[in-house]
Symmetry: D2
Subunit: 373 residues, 4 copies
């Protein structure tokens, strides 16, 4: 693992997620550029001090030198955004698989470089679009893919947080600080941090590709350098229409990721904060409530669950499903899904299209200029 | 009352709403151009057959000829949209107050003509933006007006219905038929029918004016002549950003009008299908649930309620609040609020701006070209 | 109407409920023993002063003397409990139908006297068990009656209010005062006031008869003379087991009447504060949400609704359904259901059984000693 | 670990819960009396084959013989109920701490024997009353303990499952089979399996002791040998009144554990299926929604959480909190709470009191006959 020293949030989540099913063991790390913090983190995690490295370079060099069965298999990257691409490329080129925090990179160009490095090295790149790991998200995907809703007409996705409502980035909050710093976060603030989750979820579940976007990108908190609020209209292939709303200044909201998709015959709704429920509403019959562990789930969704109905699974379990799927894929087992290069590239194109559109007087911007719309 | 014969929906609602508090009595009508239907409706309602008229013209002429204390005070107009303006103007000019179904008219020009007629006649024009009659909507308005949320940053409003998902307008459904016919509905389908409710509610509660709109107007059901789906971004005065989503092809949805507004310090949420609850979420303290009849309500909201906490009031009661407010205003009492000419004009400008924007490649269209943005 | 002067709660509800559908008109009343209050109430309601009487006796005598087509048809009784029986009997004997507030009477003996008076006079007695007037309650009843859930095993009903948590009855609250006075309320406080609603609803919807009860009757507020809290176990015919919880000291609760019934194949849940939803849960398939106006409703339930799906109907509409059903029955129309003598007698037997059981060391008390269990 | 072989449910949960925070490592086990199953489980878990034992006796003997730093610290017991006491006593006497599935034992006498063994050996006994590990349960406990609600008047707890609605115990379902077999489950079916959870939660959170119970114990599924449905009235010290409902034949219900407690000034509600929310309702101000990770939580509750607000934690995390608390206590850290001997003894007394009361004609049975009521 690179990054994730004492006090960091997402590194600890990766460790819990990887530990949950017993598929993974943390054996080496370069957790912090602060030597003391790095060492202490290694100790707290019970690592062999010899495998707690000063830098990613040191880690890669030393691990490569170990016998194949002793060295790490996968590098988990949990650093701020600007380090994702160089680190991922270095690890892939050193022969290691990579499990990377999102967003994939700072730009489409960087993301494409990762994709090329993965291809050249024959190693696998996984990306932590955590929310697609929930069982009921998979159920939603399956239901749409098999046509239960008919042709899709509407895709509404939103992701509302409120924690950046005040200028805490200027008051020393580390999580806030790097996320609002273009040098470390990239060209998008809220856009890169959470709108990408929303976009990936919408495309992943709907099975559709967004072709064009019209967006409004706003900085509500004075002095902030990156957007803290995103509103967008989307046009999907096949004629579906979408809205995407993401905000980190929706004061009082927690982590409100919600997806609603309607087709000719009905609609579905899933909300991350009550993740074990999927509501299906129908034009001509009563709404149905699908529940984790309950009757009516597809095999794919059921396979992502660990407990019987009514024993809630949460965020860590969804995250663990990605690690589990990644492990299964590396073992060559079928059915081991995880988000990867494709998801990452699409979201980087979305980020660049939104930024371009927001600066333009023209209504629509194509998300993938290389594609014919 | 003009319109609202046997089988019509909204006419019956007006009658229930007006009856509820005992302020109004239905004494005359021209319910249908079908003579039999007109007569039968009058009978069912227990009217004096002499006051069941063949046409609005006949009604106005005859009622005007009655002594002042015997004639009607107010004409309720519950016809399809294209008749609103000519009938309202005729009634106002004949000296009667008007309570009109929304939308106000077919165009801004027509709406302005009504406004002029009201002014010239000294009569009052009320408009059935029903949803602003709910007590908890008033509470939301009061809370924002007095600054509880701080400066407003986000306004999200949505109105999702599914009943036009299939081409029922071509299969003889009368409610659907006229709503999708440009000659009777106007230039907006879903836009005129329900997006106007959403827009009025957003401006009414937020106390803000939307200055510009970027919109996507879609016909999802093949063969339909008017939009059945609206997506829009809004820019409000003062820097708030908005999204407005309205659809009549969100299969499985009922009458899902929902408003969320966030300011610097917190946000509020109100949903029409559970109208007796208003949720307030705060940046720095636990969320609060305000309930009809419960502690913490303003006097204004409490005054709109008829029953103690936990005895749900619904759509008819909200509607009745408009009739009650209108009656109070006509009696010269203070505090008798009802939507009127101002609300109607704003929504007609919104409709025209959306239609113009949807046909344009430019991103933003001003809602009121006469205003400096 | 007798009772329901200025400031009274339930009288106004009766008037709104009766007005809603245009079936009824209030023409006479004895609203208060306070002459000024009585007169003012009549004026506010627009009544002919000649038909605003000093007393029920005066009303009955005068109305009886009017020609049949001019006199009242039905007397609505909205006084405190101790007056229900003498007034109902007087009205029935005078040849008028009666629509009475619940509870029916102060005792089983009084209830039986009303039943006898109704029978002897050939007049009809209706009882305001309001909650059985909701459309989704009717749907629940129909579903169970037609066997959707299989044989019933569990009946859980609860009715939680908090408004008597503090000793407001000693602080001049009139609603609280008479409800906690044995002379006016009877032998049950919370028991008579709201547990009776819960009991009637449970029997009405389940179609089962409770045979025996084990109860705990408590006075939580020091100095109060009647119970403010009821807990009971019920045994129903056919082997179903029940729990009934009613409280008026559940601080913070509003009017939380909730019914859950489970059978061999599934269960249903209905809650008065969200009355337009009925949840059906199944052993072997996803839960379904039935909604007022939505697909899947029986004709009986649909017939109790006035508005399309998503336009919430509430307490007044449920109440109006009883008045509408009563009107239909008096007109001899089929399908006009309303609660009457049977419901009233059962609940009075329940009240007496609970009071007896609560004073006893024996676990079970039969609800109808005259029945063979 | 003893028990928890392939296919068992709760053993896997214990393993995930123990792994989550990195406090524990599984090093030895006797997973099944079936040798092949035992061996395969050990392999799947990556254990040293030498520490996968044929029996608990073998495990205890061999581990005891290891050097202190190599042997196990704690034995997790995840077998059917009838083995809890003998195994716990054997492990305690062999010098190991014990983390035991609930219920503690088959009888009060057995539970007391465990308590004595723990005392004699100086080892610690922890009991998997999982639900008391949720952060919002701790918050509820803290709020009541510090008097927010005032004196407690009502305690309502329910635990509804539906999975035993059909006779699946006779159709080969292993989970169902032993739970309905008196030889393995004890004198209570639903009573021992889930009513004990409800009872422990009610006492733990309210801080009150139930003194007497009046109960109805039912077998709804013909042929079943133990109760599948429990209804009980409770009288608590200090005058609070309680109801407890537990059922495993509430068809369609999942794992519906819900606790409501009301005091003089307000009430709280917590439901296991949405465990990250605690609702507080007040007599004189709006209801508040406390959320995991949100503002207003006590330090104790916050300390049980791993992720920020809006990232749901679930059943495994609650379970892990017990393992974490147990680890902290064994390390001698303050604040490391876990349920233990006291909780276990109380629930066994409750079980015996309910069984005795259900067979009696007397209304109330004391839960702890040794206590003065």
């Amino acid at each position: 693992m690179v990054g994730g020293g004492e006090g960091a949030f997402i590194g600890a989540v990766h460790r819990m997620a990887a530990a949950l099913d017993g598929d993974w063991r943390l054996t080496a790390g370069a957790f912090s550029t602060d030597a003391g913090r790095n060492r202490r983190t290694g100790e707290q995690l019970g690592l062999d001090p010899a495998r707690v490295y000063d830098s990613l370079d040191a880690l890669l060099a030393a691990e490569r030198a170990l016998p194949a069965e002793a060295r790490i298999d996968v590098l988990a990257i949990v650093t701020p955004n600007h380090l994702h691409a160089p680190m991922a490329i270095a690890a892939l080129e050193a022969g290691f698989h990579v499990f990377c925090e999102k967003p994939m990179a700072m730009s489409v160009a960087e993301a494409e470089a990762i994709a090329a490095a993965a291809k050249a090295s024959g190693r696998t790149f996984a990306l932590a679009f955590t929310y697609s790991g929930y069982a009921l998200v998979e159920e939603a995907r399956v239901r749409i893919a098999r046509g239960d809703l008919g042709a899709i007409r509407l895709v509404q996705v939103e992701y509302l947080q409120g924690w950046l409502s005040a200028p805490i980035d200027e008051a020393g909050n580390k999580q806030a600080e790097w996320r609002t710093d273009p040098a470390r976060a990239g060209i998008g603030g809220c856009l890169g941090d959470i709108a990408t989750h929303a976009f990936q979820l919408a495309e992943h579940v709907s099975g559709l590709r967004a072709e064009a976007v019209a967006a409004d990108l706003t900085i509500h908190v004075p002095g902030r350098r990156l957007d803290d609020d995103v509103s967008a209209l989307l046009r999907f292939g096949g004629g579906a229409r979408g809205t995407l709303k993401a905000s980190q200044v929706a004061a009082g909201e927690e982590n409100g990721l919600k997806l609603r998709i309607h087709g000719e015959r009905g609609g579905l709704e899933w909300a991350q904060m009550e993740p074990n429920t999927l509501t299906l509403r129908w034009l001509d019959r009563p709404a149905e409530i699908l529940r984790a562990g309950g009757p009516g789930l597809s095999d794919g969704a059921s396979g992502l669950l660990r407990t019987p109905a009514g024993h809630p699974e949460g965020y860590v379990e969804a995250f663990a499903n990605l690690y589990r799927g990644f492990a299964a894929a590396l073992r060559g087992e079928s059915g081991g899904w995880f988000p990867g290069v494709g998801d990452g590239l699409r979201t980087m194109k979305f980020v660049e299209a939104v930024v371009a559109n927001a600066a333009s007087d023209r209504k629509w911007t194509r998300i993938d200029p290389g594609e014919s719309v």
